[in-house]
Structure formats: C-alpha cells, structure tokens
Symmetry: C2
DNA sequence: CTGGTCAGTGTAACCGGTTACACCGCTGGT
DNA sequence: ACCAGCGGTGTAACCGGTTACACTGACCAG
C-alpha cells in the first residue's frame, strides 16, 4: 500500500480511504490511485485489516470429517448462509482427535468472528479452553449443556426420528428389525440407537443380536449387510443409522441375492440428496442439514453484529420420516 | 499477551519466547507464564502472527461449489494433504460468478500462503488480477496455459477417460450411445463431450439427437433419463458426464420400467466412492480426485517452502475405466 | 472582511504479535 | 584478574493496514 501511495503521490491514508470509501477523495486522485493499484496488482492484506478492525468477516467451521454426503450438505448450508451474510468460511477437519481439535481451534483465533463446531466426542470444556474468551460459538449436536455464555447449541431430534422410523417399520408388520449403529462415541449415533431400542421394547420386542456396530461409512454398512444376509433368523427389516450405511447394506444384501424391499426392508437416516435417486428410492429420516448451517450462521451473525455474548440457548430441529420404496410401504 | 506479561511480571518478549520455544526461558518463569496464560485463557492471535511472520500456514481453496460427492472428495484430498503438511484450509465457493470469484480471491490475500483454484469459466488472467503478485497458485482443470510464473496447472485426462468409456460401450455391441453432457461452460464437460463425439465418429456412428444437456446434478440426469426413456429409437447405452447424472438417469429409467443394464447400459464419470455401492454397481471412469488434492498441496508446499515462484507446469493425471455391472459387461 | 463549514489530504498511533539487539550477571578458561 | 560465552530478560521496531486528529484552502453567509 505504501508503494501505491508513493507512486500515486499521496499518503497511505488517502489510499485506504479510496479503497474503502471511508472518506472524501478527489476525483483525479481516486483515478490515479486506482490506476496505480491495478498496475502494481495491489490487493489489501486481510490479515492486517482484521488485526486493526478486529473484524475478520470470516466464520470458522470445525467438523470431524470433510468426507461424505452429510458433511458436504452441511458445508453447503453453511456456505450459503455465510454468503448471504457476507462471511467467508475457514474450514478444519478435526478427525475426532482431541489434539487436532485443539490445534484447529487455536488456529482460528484472531482469524474468525465466530465459530461453528461439531464435536462428536470432545467436551464443551475442551473447546472453551482453546478459544479466546469472548468468541461466539455454536455447537452442533452437543450432548451436554454448554458451559459458558458464548456457547450456543444446535441439534436435531435424533430420538424422534429414530423412533418414527422404527415405528414405521413395525407398522409394516416387521418384528425382527436390525439396527446398523453409527460410531459408538458419537452422540447422534447413541441417540438413534437408544430410541430404536426403546421403541422396540415398547412394542414388546427384543433387540438381542439385532444391533450391528458401524461407523457411518458405506463400507461398514456393506459388512453389516453381509453378516446380516447370512443369519439364520434373518431380520426382515434394517434401520441404518445413516444413509451411507443403508446404501452399503443394500449393496451387500443384493450381492447375496436378496431383494429390497421384498426380502429385506431398509430405512436410513439423514435423507441425503441422493436418497431419492437410489433404486429403490431410500426411505429415510429427513434431517434439515442445510437449515442447521443456516441457523448456526444466523445465530453467530446476530452475536457478532451486536458484539454481545450469545445468550446460551439449546435449539433442537425436528426430523421427519420420508417414506419411499426401500421399506416396502405401499405407494 | 500484554496482560499475560504484566500478570506474570515479565515482558511480552518472554511470553512470546515461552509460547514458541524461540529462545531460552527460565524454568520458574515458564511455569508462571503458562499458569497465567491458562488462567486468562490467552490464545495467540493468528492474524497478528501471520502479519509479522508473513507465513499463515493456511492454504486457500476456491471451488465453484461445495456441493456434491466430487467436491466433497476433492476437499477431503486437499484436507488430508494439507494436514500432512501442517496447513489449514480456507475454503470459498465461487458459484461460477465472476464477482464472487473476485471477492473470494481478494478475501484470501494475506490469509493464505498458497491457493488452489478450480475455475470452470473464469480465465487465469482474472485470477491473477485479483491476487498479490507472488502468491503461488495451482489451477485445477484449467483450459489455457497459465499466464504467469506463479500459476501451476493440474488437470485430468478427460479425453482419454471419455474415449475409453465410449469404446467400452461400443465394444459391448452398443450403437446408439447417448451422452449426458455436463455444464456447457465447463472445460471438463466439454472435453468429455468432444472425446465421446470423436470416438463415435471414428466408429462411423452418428451422435445426432444423442447428446443431452445437463449440469452435473442428479436432477439433470433424472430429467435426461425421462426424455431418453420416451424416445422412439431409444439408445441402448448412456454415458453420463459424471456419476451424479448417471445416478439420476438410472433412477428415471427404472421409474419407466427399464432394467439396467439389460434394457439400457449406463456408464458414469468420476468414480465417486458411492459408485461401487449402487445397484447395479456403476461402471465409471476413475478420476484420482484425492490425488488431485494431494498433488496440488504438494506443489504449493514446495513453492512456499522454497519461497520461489512455482515453475509453471501443466500436469495431467491419468483416468482409468472401472468396469462394474451397470454397463452389462460380463463379470 | 471575518468566521464557519467542508472537501481533500497528511501524520502518526494503534491492532497483537515477533524478533534484532542490548543488557546483565554468572561461569570458566587462561 | 580479565574477558568470552551464555542463559535469561527487556526495549523497541516492524508487519500492513485503519483512523483520530490536524491542517489547508475554497466557498459562503453575515
């Protein structure tokens, strides 16, 4: 900037004002500065700007993984909302490791105005300890009540969704309904499993030997599907804790010559965009993923704008059952 | 930091040295500083650090969209590679608009050490004009030769992949092979279409009425599939310019009572992770998406480390045909 | 003619760190 | 006894912008 100022024969203050419309600049001067800036390919240094302005116009996002349809959707929702509020996104994958979350959070300090954190296993306490005191944070799908005022919590109604799916399958006459569980340490996964168990129990049915461990990947779904296909008392329905595992399970069941939904009915969770295009279209529990992102950004935007700590709230978004062909329900 | 220094009874220099191991600090002093820092929840301001150090340990990523399996995979590849090199990721979606690309690029200045840009329609020139002169940039899938020394180009062999797929379908005896084209302005899409046309022509076959416009989405694939199903001289095979459209097309064809691959053979492009789990598993052209990310980060890392402009290169990664069941080839 | 207003501009402090350099006191070799 | 070397520490300049404040000259109302 100093170079631009010198070459244009003005001071840095004038250049700054010219670029930000933050004060009167003579027409001639403005033109001269703009020409020189282009010539020198001057682009303001955002780090310096945010240092001085204390505003970065950037939101940080920390998610366990960048992989898969769910996070892709989430990121899209966040991106859209962020753009609408004129924010940029600084993204980090934490890969579930506490050290990496720590590093990711610390790397955000001073570079973001607010933070969206999805933390499967790490406590809110750990998050706070690695962040500057007054930074607004929205936690996605957190189990515990937030520890401080700056933490806001946004989750989805896992239990209601899982219960609805289980009841739906029960309503179709299924008795042996298997569950492909998600990553054990994950809160969402645990909730879905719990609701499945409770709903089955409420119907007087046992879940012994019907719960298969998984980790939310297609591969885990495939492996579970294979084991399931070989069972003596084969379940007549499968409720996967997410759509990716449902896809994997269907693939394995098909490979074993079983028809969906005739031989085995299948339901998923998340309702990823792809679900409706699968064959058969996948019955799933719709999660308003993009709304999750939109709400998170919204909350942060308000807190940042007002420069006031986030009033600690806990919001749970509803989930809805979306019936398609994979469960064998009549159209 | 000043507060920490005062409370610990030392100067800011000592606090800095303590945090970065950049100089000797007495054992007692170190303990005292660490205790105070934790108490005050002091986290160093990265913006200030990078301003002084001129290093940000962050790579910028500008992609047309954050949505879909392809970008999800790309982001994952970039994230993995970045982590391996101890870099963070600053992500922006450009949404194909020139203004947004401009804004995204300008927002990166001073916040990243290097940049990965995927620019479907915008010229390398536009990119350079909105970036500081010496910033290393890797262009993903760019058409033109880069304009400057700092621009590196990384692409995939679209033509070879599309030709291989077309030849494969021809080899299975198909004559009326339709093509679901990607976004018209997109370079990859154009290349795939061109190679398809040339391969068909080389086999003495016409492509009149066999090319359907699309935009890389499942929905576009579905719509094309519907039109295709209703055709009098229905194509016996479909080559979609990406897997998402293949999925959509399959869904539509199935909805019209057609069997895959018996009635219509289908091939895709990208080989997204899901492809193998579809029913039937999708024949596709494998694109080393994660390697794309890894290579890009690698190149940037070298240029940053050496603090020398990127020797302008143009690298094209090979693509390979992956035959699965959706094309009806014998196992 | 004078004082106030305002467009247009420059000077310098400041944001929050890093680091070159200076300084002090102690140890140990000669 | 003297000086080099080193551990431990402080001072202040610097990174690249923003902005409060001061200043100048033109214009205008009283």
């Amino acid at each position: 900037m100093y170079d631009v100022a010198r070459k244009a024969g003005v001071s840095v203050a004038t250049v700054s004002r010219c670029f930000n419309d933050s004060g009167p600049v003579g027409e001639q001067t403005r033109l001269r500065i703009e020409r020189v800036a282009e010539e020198l390919r001057f682009v303001p240094n955002r780090a310096a700007q945010s240092l001085r302005a204390v505003r970065t116009h950037t939101l940080g996002v920390v998610v366990p993984d960048l992989h898969g349809a769910f996070f892709s959707e989430l990121l899209r929702g966040l991106d859209q909302a962020a753009r609408a509020h004129r924010y940029h996104l600084l993204v980090a994958g934490s890969h579930g490791s506490k050290d990496e979350i720590r590093a990711a959070l610390r790397s955000m300090s001073g570079r973001v105005d607010g933070l969206v954190v999805m933390n499967p296993d790490v406590s809110a306490f750990t998050i706070e300890a690695n962040l500057p005191p007054r930074l607004p944070v929205v936690l996605l799908g957190e189990r515990d009540r937030p520890a401080s005022e700056n933490l806001d919590t946004l989750g989805i109604d896992n239990a209601a969704g899982a219960a609805a799916m289980t009841r739906h399958l029960l309503g179709l006459g299924h008795q042996r309904i298997a569950h492909l569980a998600g990553t054990a340490s994950n809160h969402d996964a645990a909730e879905r499993l719990r609701a499945y168990r409770e709903t089955m129990a409420a119907a007087g049915l046992s879940t012994d030997g019907l719960v298969f461990e998984g980790d939310f990947t297609e591969e885990a779904g495939y492996r579970a599907g294979e084991r399931l296909a070989g069972l003596d008392a084969r379940p007549t329905a499968v409720f996967a804790a997410n759509d990716a595992m449902a896809v994997g399970a269907i693939s394995a069941l098909r490979a074993h010559g079983l028809r969906i939904p005739n031989d085995v009915a299948v339901g998923g969770f998340d309702d990823i965009p792809l679900a409706r295009y699968l064959s058969p279209p996948l019955t799933s529990v719709h999660v308003p993923i993009d709304e999750l992102g939109a709400r998170a950004v919204e909350r942060l935007g308000v807190a940042i704008e007002a420069d006031t700590p986030l009033p600690s709230r806990q919001v749970t978004l509803p989930t809805t059952l979306v019936v398609r062909a994979s469960c064998g329900a009549p159209a």
